[in-house]
Structures are given as C-alpha cells and as structure tokens.
C-alpha cells in the first residue's frame, strides 16, 4: 500500500493521523473564492520534493504533468521505495488501473479557457491536449516507471475505489498480468470545488479532500515468491444501482448481504464498516441495518475531506490502518445511484 493524503506523504502519516482520529482539514483561504470553508489539502511542496528526488522531475516537468498526475506518480514512487517491483517484473508484466472522478476536468477547462480568451481560438497549447483526458495520470505513471502491461483508467463516481479492485481482480483471474497496481486519485482545485458544489445542489456540502492511494495486488503465490506477507484479501465485491435515489439504502443493503454470502462470513464477524459518506444517511442506515449499531461505522471522509473518486481507495487504506479491523466491509453510494460493497479480510498491518 502507498498513500499520499492530507496527513502527509506515506502510509505511516496516514495511519497515525487516521487512527488518532485527527482531522486533516484546514481552513481555505477566503481570497481563493471557493464554496467551501475547509478542505483536506495535500502538502504540494512535499510532493514536489519527492518527484524531484525520486523521479527526476524538475518543477517545469511537474507543472506540465499537473497535480493529479503528480499525486499519482508520487504515490507510485513511494511504493517503489518499499518494493523492487521494477526489478521483479518485466515491463510487460506491470499493469496499472487507476480511478478518479473529476480528475482532469480542470486541465480540459484550462485549454478551453485559452481558446476563448486568446487572440485566435486555436492559440492554445496543443501539447496539453493529452493531459485533458482522464487517463493522463495513469499513462504518466506508465511513462515514469515503464509500466507496459495493461493500463486502464476507470470511473464509477464514488464507487470507483471498489470498481478499481474489481478491475484488478478480473485482470488477475483472466491471467492478463501477474502484478496489478490498483488505486485512485483525486486532486483539489477551484473548478472541481465549484462543479461539485453546483452538481450536488440541494445536498449538504461537505469539505473536499484530495490524495492518492495505490495497492499492490498479486496472487498469494506471487507474493510469497517475492517474500511479501499479504496485507489483505478481497473476499467479495458486489455492485448495483438504484433508479430511485430514495431506495439507495435498500439497494446497498442487498449488496452488503450478497457480499457477506459470497465471502461466506456472518455479519456478526465483521469488525468494522468503512463508509464513502457523501450520502451518509442512506449508507449509514444500510450498514446499521445489517450490522447493528454496535459495529463501528467509520467515515474516513470526515477526517480527510470528500476525496470523491479516491474515497473508496482511502476507505481501504483506512481498513488497512485500523488496529481493530480483522474483517472489514467497505461501502459506497453515489449520488447518481450506483452502490457497491466490498468485504476484505485484513491479514497483516504495515
């Protein structure tokens, strides 16, 4: 596991902050004209130093790849400090699946902004075009670390973190790659803040957050071969959607029950539920309905802000950081109707 979060760089910073229940939110500068007063912001300067030292990316290159790619590349760089994946696996064996939500919309609007405001409509920096596509952070990771296997970007709103795990699982099952780096990224900027604010019109706005989490996924045999102790096993993933937002609780309840049945575990055995938390009431109702009020239900977003497309990845990072978790359930509800549930057995903590 590798994490860059508002708590700082690395999984230790995240674990320490999260397990202490410390808020990573800070006041936003009123001069920035943002709709939110608080946010979970990553220390950009620390990321910049990491990219310079570990990835040989000077400040100009960092500006070119932009913040979402910087967060993703930096998170992978931290992963590679710990594991010699580039030595263990040939380039074509290294797969990456990375999720997000509004990850590169800011870059797309930059380019259009120039088209609207420069002297002629085509006076734009065309080299920026690839960075306006949502797969740019994923492919920038590939470029920096020679990941020449399957490389895919995925989004399913707030369910993205669970979808990414499913994508990785399918790559493994189909024998498409022996090692899949799976994670999600979301960055904070004024446009994302306003688009989210307006897009959630009528719902209570919550502070936004940013960051990236990446997980090393491989078969148990491959992990053992490389001397790694598995941290967690994904026992079940279930997905669905509801056409009626009022029925989100019911839709999620069905997926939680299915996931428990598929994982062959009882609700009573679950130690901890981690919630995505934008539609907190519906999600919480489903979780307490299945597990009762005694099972701890944790909203990581309360501490680090709403990381949107990366929220599911942060839920898993939180499960892997919580000393009380043996069997954890991750849930997600998107305002658009998608729901998802994962059951994860925590095997060791790092």
């Amino acid at each position: 596991m590798s994490v860059i979060s508002p708590y700082g760089l690395g999984k230790a910073a995240f674990r320490d902050g999260f397990t202490a229940g410390r808020s990573a939110l800070s006041k936003v500068d009123v001069a920035d004209d943002l709709p939110y007063v608080e946010a979970g912001v990553v220390d950009g300067e620390a990321v910049s130093v990491l990219l310079r030292d570990d990835c040989d990316l000077n400040s100009r290159s960092q500006r070119f790849i932009g913040r979402p790619s910087s967060l993703a590349v930096g998170t992978l760089a931290l992963m590679l400090r710990e594991h010699d994946l580039l030595g263990e696996y040939a380039p074509a064996q290294r797969a990456l699946v990375l999720g997000g939500d509004l990850t590169t919309t800011d870059r797309a609007m930059d380019l259009m902004y120039d088209s609207l405001t420069e002297e002629l409509p085509y006076h734009v920096n065309a080299k920026q075009l690839p960075s306006t596509a949502m797969n740019f952070p994923t492919t920038q990771c590939a470029v920096r670390f020679g990941l020449q296997g399957p490389n895919s970007t995925i989004t399913s709103g707030r369910v993205t973190g669970l979808s990414v795990l499913n994508y990785a699982r399918r790559l493994h099952r189909a024998g498409r790659a022996p090692m899949v780096l799976a994670g999600a990224v979301e960055d904070l900027n004024a446009r994302r803040s306003w688009i989210t604010w307006h897009g959630l019109a009528g719902q209570e706005p919550r502070p936004l957050g940013e960051g990236c989490c990446v997980f090393l996924t491989e078969s148990a045999e491959s992990a053992a071969e490389h001397g790694r102790t598995p941290m967690a096993e994904v026992l079940a993933l279930e997905f669905g959607t509801t056409l009626d937002p009022a029925r989100a609780t019911e839709a999620l309840t069905t997926r939680i029950r299915r996931a428990l049945a598929s994982a062959e575990v009882d609700a009573a055995d679950v130690d901890l539920a981690l919630l995505s938390g934008v539609d907190g009431d519906a999600e919480h109702a489903a979780v307490t309905g299945v597990f009762g009020a005694d099972t701890p239900a944790v909203f990581p977003g309360d501490l680090i802000g709403d990381t949107a497309g990366a929220s599911g990845a942060f839920q898993l990072a939180a499960a892997l950081s919580d000393p009380a978790a043996g069997l954890a359930v991750l849930t997600a509800v998107d305002p658009d109707g998608q729901v998802g549930c994962g059951v994860v057995r925590i095997l060791s903590r790092h």
Binding site: D33, V124, L129, T132, N135, T139, A142, G157, A236, L243
Partner: protein
C-alpha cells in the same frame, strides 16, 4: 460472486448491435452506410468555429437530444440510445435482462466535453460561482452508463466508465469478455461514445492533425483526421445463453490484448503496437494466416498510417497483409466510440460477407503499402477480423472477432 448463468464453454458472442454514426443509425442503417461507402464530413454546427480557417466534423444531425432529460448530456444520451438499440437488436426481453446480473462498460475519451466547454465559457464570462448546476451534475463521466441503466430499468448491474481515450471501445469489449468468462455476469453492454467539442477541435487544429476537408487514410494526399461523433454498443452474452434463447448471433469475440507504450503521449510505438496485435492473436489462438480483415485505427495523419502499416507488415511477416479498412474516412474519429464502431463494422463484414471500405481514397501512399479496400465495399467471405485501436498515452488495444458459422457449429439456420 457467481451469478447462476455462466457460459459453460467460456465462449462469448455478440447478439445485439446499436450504432449512432454519421453514416447511419442502427445496425441496418450503419450496414447500409458501410456498403454504400458513404461519407459524413460536413461543416461544424455543434460549436462556434469563428476564427478557424476550416472546420468539418462528422456529426449526426438526425440525433436530437431529448430535452425532457436535461440531466444527461449529448454523448450520454447517444450511449443510452445505442444500448437500447443493441438490446432490441438482440431480441432480448427486458424482463430477462432485469432478472440477470449485468455489466455496462462505456468507453469514452472526454464524456460530456461540450458541457465542460460550456462551463468554461461561463467561467470566462461570469465566474465559477455562476456555473449551471445541470451541467455541473452531468459532466461526470461515471454518469454515462447510469443513463443506460435508467433507460432499460436495470438495477442488478455493475456500471463503469472506462476513459481509456481512443482505444476505449476495445477496452470496454475486453472488460465485458473477462466478466462474462468469469461467470460473474450473464450479459454485458459494452462500447463507447463521444461528441466532439471546441476544446479538442482547437487543439487538434493547432497540432495540424485535422484534415481541411476529408479524412483519407493511407492515401498519399492525406492531411489528417476529421473528428466524428457517435456511439456504438454491443450486447455480449455467453454462447450457451444465446443458443438457448434462439438469438441471432452476429459474431464471436475470441479475445483481446492491451499494452502500453509507456513512452511518448501522442506518438505511438510501432514495436509496442506490433506486440499488442501479436498478443491479441495469440490470446485468441489464431494464426496470422487466418486473419481475413484488419480494421485499422487509421487516423490519416502523417505519422499514424505508416506506423500502422509497418506494424501490420511485421505481424504478418512473410504473409501478405490482409485487407486493411479504415472507417474514420466515413464516420470521422469518434474517439471513445472509435474502436467499438470499427468492431461493429468488422462484425457486419463477417456476418454479411464483405470488407468495409476506406473512402476518399486517391493513391495509396508508398509508405503505407496496404490494400485499404479503396472507396467501395468489397464482396468477400472474411472469417476472422483483427480490430486495432490506439489512444493518447500510448494505449494499445486489439480485439479478435470471428464469424459465427452456424453450419460448422452444427446449428440449423
């Protein structure tokens, strides 16, 4: 994780096709357009091109967005419409679809890019605090498959958007194949869509990648691509379920391969494209000698076509390169939909016994020495098609499709 309807053989077939394109809507309309070698490039109407010296796009003026559904943008509505067509084409009862577990995987390059353009215009004129809430809501790419579920009344369904740019259609097909083979879903609606926007037009224009008039893949006088809009969706299901319900099978999806250049963001690596194509054939258990049709990415840019022709030459080695069709000449570059449009063109060729044409062809560039089926569809009996696609960031994705031969399968017609 099991769902009760896995195919016993692991074979996956295409039973439904839905298309929106500049040369035709629906399976029959698209087939007609391919056979007629129709083109669709015309002056842009979708966005303001004042200040550009030229501007043609392959639009679909017949497709009108449903104003009653303002919460879905144009590309999203195109995906929903194509998915509905695919389900109807498959003769799949909605009750049956709703009773099974499904996957909807939508490939795209930029989703509701026009909405993002519109929001930028608001930002310039008024500021971000004045953004339209309707646009802000529908700009998220994850909403594209939601519209399909909404239209078809599907709740027991996994929804994903794969923004794997211009290879995304093949990514979606591959994802559906793996989910079906694993027995995790009983059907998959897969494909892609895009609707070009001013932002991309400006950047492609600036890059010198846009043709002034027509897209002429592999021709000596090619000057670039024409952007296109549209959507393409396929209904995939296990062979056994298709046979059991007596469905018309359009083709079989044999396998796919993805890899990444991990190099230049916009200049593909011939070596990696070659490896991707070879990998797809290996995964499918097909030898190069068995391939009868290659669907090229075929952007008609100076750089792409010689690179692709060289990759094909390498893959086929001592064998002649099979006919190579590039339908961007007809429908433009539909980006997230492009690979799925190519795949459907190949399927229709396998099913109806023809090779789709590459139109606007004058003289083949000696640097791209392929038989591009110039200008007119050609009668033939192709059995295996290889569909190539490439995307920004060095994404390569190839899919292998096979004609479904009822006689050889021992099934009466």
């Amino acid at each position: 994780m099991g769902n009760g309807a896995p195919g016993r053989s692991g074979r996956v077939v295409v039973t439904g096709i839905g298309v929106i394109s500049g040369i035709g809507i629906g399976r029959a309309g698209f087939l007609d357009g391919l056979l007629a070698g129709r083109g669709s490039a015309a002056p842009v109407t979708a966005f303001d091109v004042t200040g550009f010296e030229y501007g043609k796009v392959c639009e679909v003026p017949e497709f009108a967005v449903d104003e009653e559904r303002p919460h879905y943008g144009r590309a999203t509505q195109m995906i929903a419409a194509a998915a509905l067509m695919a389900v109807e084409d498959a003769g799949m009862a909605l009750t049956r679809l709703r009773a099974g577990r499904g996957l909807i995987a939508v490939g795209t390059t930029e989703g509701e890019a026009r909405d993002v353009d519109e929001m930028t215009t608001t930002e310039v004129n008024k500021g971000l605090a004045d953004l339209d809430p309707v646009l802000a809501r529908r700009a998220r790419l994850g909403r594209m498959p939601v519209s399909v579920a909404d239209d078809l009344g599907l709740e027991d369904v996994e929804l994903v958007t794969l923004p794997d740019v211009c290879a995304a259609g093949n990514y979606a097909i591959g994802y559906g194949l793996d989910a079906l083979r694993a027995g995790e879903v009983s059907y998959a609606l897969v494909g892609g869509a895009d609707s070009p926007c001013r932002k991309s037009f400006a950047a492609f224009y600036r890059l010198g990648a846009l043709a002034r008039d027509e897209c002429r893949p592999f021709a000596v006088d090619r000057t670039g691509v024409v952007l296109g809009e549209g959507s393409a969706m396929l209904l995939l299901e296990p062979l056994e379920s298709a046979l059991e319900r007596g469905a018309l099978i359009h083709a079989e999806v044999l396998d796919y391969n993805f890899n990444c250049d991990a190099g230049h963001p916009t200049r593909p690596s011939e070596e990696r494209v070659t490896q991707c194509l070879r990998g797809a054939l290996d995964n499918a258990g097909v030898s190069p000698a068995e391939v009868d049709l290659v669907m090229a990415h075929g952007t008609a840019t100076k750089a792409n076509d010689p690179m692709e022709a060289a990759a094909f030459t390498e893959v086929f080695g001592d064998l002649p390169v099979p006919p190579v069709a590039a339908i961007k000449s007809m429908i433009g570059h539909t980006m997230g939909g492009a690979a799925a449009h190519s795949g459907i063109a190949a399927i229709l060729g396998l099913e109806h016994g023809f090779l789709p044409p590459t139109i606007n062809h004058t003289t083949t560039d000696p640097e791209c020495p392929v038989d591009c089926v110039p200008n007119r569809a050609r009668r033939a009996e192709p059995k295996i098609a290889l569909v190539n696609s490439l995307g920004f960031g060095g994404l390569n994705a190839a899919v292998v499709l096979k004609r479904f031969d009822r006689q050889a399968e021992g099934i009466g017609s």
